[in-house]
């Protein structure tokens, strides 16, 4: 994408103006970091093959973090950007900070640093009309003759600016557009069969409702009259959506530098905890990513290697967890020191094998479209339970031979990706929106996945 210069952007300048106003109101009473986010968020939702919920909204909020006495901090947010609202924001935050105990581990605010001016942005997304979203929905629904469809088309984006009393100033603009939906084949008295598809992009033109609908419809039609399988350990091919779901808990609770320092993470730096086919990294600066060019504290984003050829090599840090670990912050703050760092632009390295070839290598196993309602039992073992959803198929002799009723699994995610357990990596790496964020991931073929229950319990 073309470079963007925030100095030429009126929206960014409006954000800076309010941030500067807040910094002036703080004066010399505190250290401060101020951000303003402006933009638009719209989502057109459909079910039973009709649009049933349709929302559009303007967004504008200012977030202030102040620090007094070298370690008493508080943060406050407001949607009221007139002078009265900003004064209230500032006075409230300073008063709150003064009443707090000093944090002995306060690392100081981010110093000015060069920020790569990313441009994961498409003006057409911000300007998208309700009619534009309805057109994408109409295209998706039209591919499901005889099927019931449900899902959404969303467009969101805007401009963000950050100003601090250290002199740091940066701005970023981002957009995200998605079409995400199912087609459902409904059988008289039988199990409905769902097929799923999603397209996630920073660009509106990438939202092809017809293409997504055709994928979902094909899968729904192939899923009718599913067989019931006994629980047990099966070789699996996980499609990209399922892989994104699988990575949520390692990313959230494992590669979190604070969790690692506290001893609740599974991570052992320098150890071959994963199969050598696994390369995992965080990189908002990649043109395929959607994130901002700096984190909530203003630390510039850069690539962080987390796993290199199976060896765990990195962690995501905010300023506080980095200081405690004696390393540089990685630009992974989500604005909560209580949480720590999160790799919000995750990439799992793709392979050179098509998803069809992954399936072709399986003597007997399961093709999994999605993993749903995933909940972790213990962050240290990374044992997670959840269910399959939106398409589960039996593979025999390298071919998909039958749809299968959904199964419950209980499985350590790290063990499933452990040395010798990854039998293939797909060449279909793509952006996938999932619970907890966006990841760029391929399909995976894994040696074993533990299914612990079926529709009978």
């Amino acid at each position: 994408m073309a470079a963007w210069d925030h100095a030429d952007d009126a929206g960014a300048q409006r954000c800076f103006a309010v941030c500067d106003q807040v910094v002036a109101l703080v004066g010399d009473r505190a250290e401060a970091v101020v951000t303003r986010t402006t933009g638009r968020s719209a989502l057109t939702r459909f079910a039973n093959s009709r649009i049933h919920q349709n929302m559009d909204g303007e967004e504008d909020h200012v977030r202030l973090r102040v620090v007094v006495d070298g370690g008493r901090s508080a943060q406050a947010t407001t949607t009221r950007t007139d002078r009265t609202g900003l004064e209230r924001l500032v006075e409230g935050a300073i008063a709150a900070a003064r009443l707090r105990p000093v944090d002995p581990d306060f690392p100081g605010l981010a110093a000015p640093a060069p920020v790569v001016e990313l441009d994961h942005y498409d003006e057409a997304v911000v300007a998208a009309s309700p009619d534009a979203r309805a057109s994408v929905v109409a295209d998706f629904v039209a591919t499901g003759t005889g099927l019931e469809s449900a899902g959404y088309c969303s467009t969101e984006g805007g401009v963000h600016a950050l100003v601090s009393t250290t002199g740091h100033r940066c701005a970023s603009r981002t957009t995200m557009a998605q079409v995400d939906g199912i087609h459902r084949a409904v059988l008289d008295g039988g199990h409905p069969a769902d097929g799923y598809a999603q397209i996630t992009s920073s660009r509106l033109n990438d939202l092809d409702g017809r293409r997504a609908g055709e994928i979902a419809a094909q899968k729904a039609r192939a899923g009718t009259d599913p067989i019931s399988l006994e629980p047990g350990s099966y070789e699996v091919v996980l499609e990209a959506k399922a892989v994104a779901a699988l990575l949520l808990f390692p990313a959230w609770l494992g590669f979190n530098g604070k969790a690692h320092a506290e001893g609740t993470s599974f991570v052992h730096l320098g150890e071959a905890q994963f199969d050598e086919r696994i390369d995992l990294w965080d990189d908002a600066t990649d043109p395929r990513a959607l994130g901002r060019s700096y984190d909530a504290e203003g630390t510039p984003k850069r690539r962080i290697d987390l796993v290199r050829r199976g060896v765990t090599v990195g962690l995501a840090h905010d300023r506080r967890s980095a200081a405690l670990a004696g390393v540089e912050p990685t630009g992974s703050s989500i604005g909560s020191e209580a949480f720590g760092g999160y790799p919000s632009d995750l990439f799992l390295g793709g392979g050179d094998v098509s998803p069809e070839q992954l399936v072709a290598g399986v003597a007997r196993g399961l093709l999994v479209t999605d993993l749903w309602y995933n909940r972790i039992l213990d962050p240290k073992t990374q044992v997670v339970t959840g269910l399959t959803r939106n398409g589960l198929f039996l593979i025999e002799g390298g071919e998909v031979v039958a749809p299968v009723q959904n199964l419950r699994y209980t499985q350590s995610v790290v063990a499933a990706l452990g040395p010798g357990r990854v039998l293939g990596v797909g060449d279909d790496a793509q952006l996938v929106g999932n619970e907890g964020g966006i990841a760029h991931v391929p399909s995976l073929r894994l040696a074993a996945w533990s299914f612990t229950g079926n529709a009978q319990g």
Binding site: L43, T44, R45, F46, S49, R50, I51, H52, Q53, N54, M55, D56, G57, E58, E59, D60, H61, Q75, A76, T77, T78, T79, R80, R88, G92, A95, A96, A97, R100, P101, D103, P130, D131, A134, S135, V137, A138, A150, G151, Y152, G181, D194, E262, G263, T264, S336, A338, Y373, N374, R375, D378, K380, T381, T385, G386, L387, T410, T452, Q456, G457
Partner: protein, 478 residues
Amino acid sequence: MFDLATAAVEGALAAGAVYADARVMIVRYESMSAKNRVVEDLTQTDTAGIGVRALIGSSWGFQSTPELSAAAARRAGEQAAAVARASARVAGPPLELSPAPVVQATWASSWDEHPLDDVGLGERADLLVQVTGAIADAGAPLAQASHQIWDTQKWFASSEGSRIDQHLVECGAVIDATAIGDGETQRRSYPGVRGQFGTRGWELVRELDLIGNAPRIAEEAQALLRAPQCPETTTTLILGSEQMALQLHESVGHAIELDRILGWEAAFAGTSWLDPRQLGTLRYGSDLMNVTADATLPGALGSFGYDDEGVAAQAVDIVKDGTWVGVLSGRDSAPLVRLRSGGMVRADGAARLPMVRMTNVGLLPGESSLEEMIAATDDGIYMDTNRSWSIDDKRLNFQFGCEIAWEVKDGRLGRMLRNPTYTGIGPRFWASMDMVGGADEWVFWGTANCGKGQPMQVGHTGHPSVPARFSGVRVGVR
């Protein structure tokens, strides 16, 4: 503020809406968390905005703005109508709104100590610092505590003439201790994994006696590291009231949401195993199962005066003597199953569309007690405090984990067990309920983090519950 809501409604009507309603909301929020004697996060949020719904034909549109001015409100109303017109490009069948009496009303929740205005910030912070200190002193390497507070004012206006203003104060707190072993962690929470929240003032937090319970949870977390694994077997299961609240939330509360039953959440939250044609005849559980959705319970987190469609809070029977008799509904969903709105539609802010939400979905007390359940059990397991929760998209097949369990042998509690889990199919599980705790064990649990909808909204729900006993349950799934 009624002027702004009215301007939004008028804007929508002028742009062609046949019905419109609007909410002006001002919300003050605070969250604070501490770990090992250090307050790590203090966030205060001041949110204001207008959200307006417009109906054209059978199609809805919704628009929000953070700008509190008459001009912005009117523009939002006009834009809501434009969004509704776009919805009509993929329209559904004709839509009927359940009748709602035109109301001019004011309602406020009750509180003794306003958590933000009557209790100093320093006092709120000191409590978290002290309680994490007490947990750490008792030997837990990770001690955490947090509270959340909401002060919500909203002004509702509809094109039918209703004008309602409400003021709700909600708060609650949670503490937990984590013990770290070689290959696993063990956590104990109090009063529950999601804490305890209510539509009450700071007196709720004082009544919890967080500091008094801190040493116990620290000791239990460490003891769990040494405890034997919960065996994998099928047995009699006794659940404490906190875990019962989660059981009710997941396998009853979401299943009875009429929008799910009608397929409106099919792509995300999911549907329901319930068929509306079976309302009034389907067996949901044993004769001991009596569930209500009661938004009028004083102090419970799912209580309010009027929902976000201007319908008064109600108490609705959901399961009566084991038979399914009721749903959670709103004005556009209830007529589809020939009901009137149950007044159960809410949004988590002005910028979000109101949708069907649980109120206080709770189990009515029976005639037993936890002590009697244990005494009456020859061989079983007693579990409490939720740790993990996962359930399928029809709210039928669940697997839940608890923080702690004990063997029950010959009518007495035995060894502590770690990593307890149980699994089941909703109606079979509820049919096996053979003992239910009494009124003196009835606790109005509050869940402040119920996710639903797209964009995701976080709802506040209540779950009055008591301990209960179930037979033939598969436990120890790993």
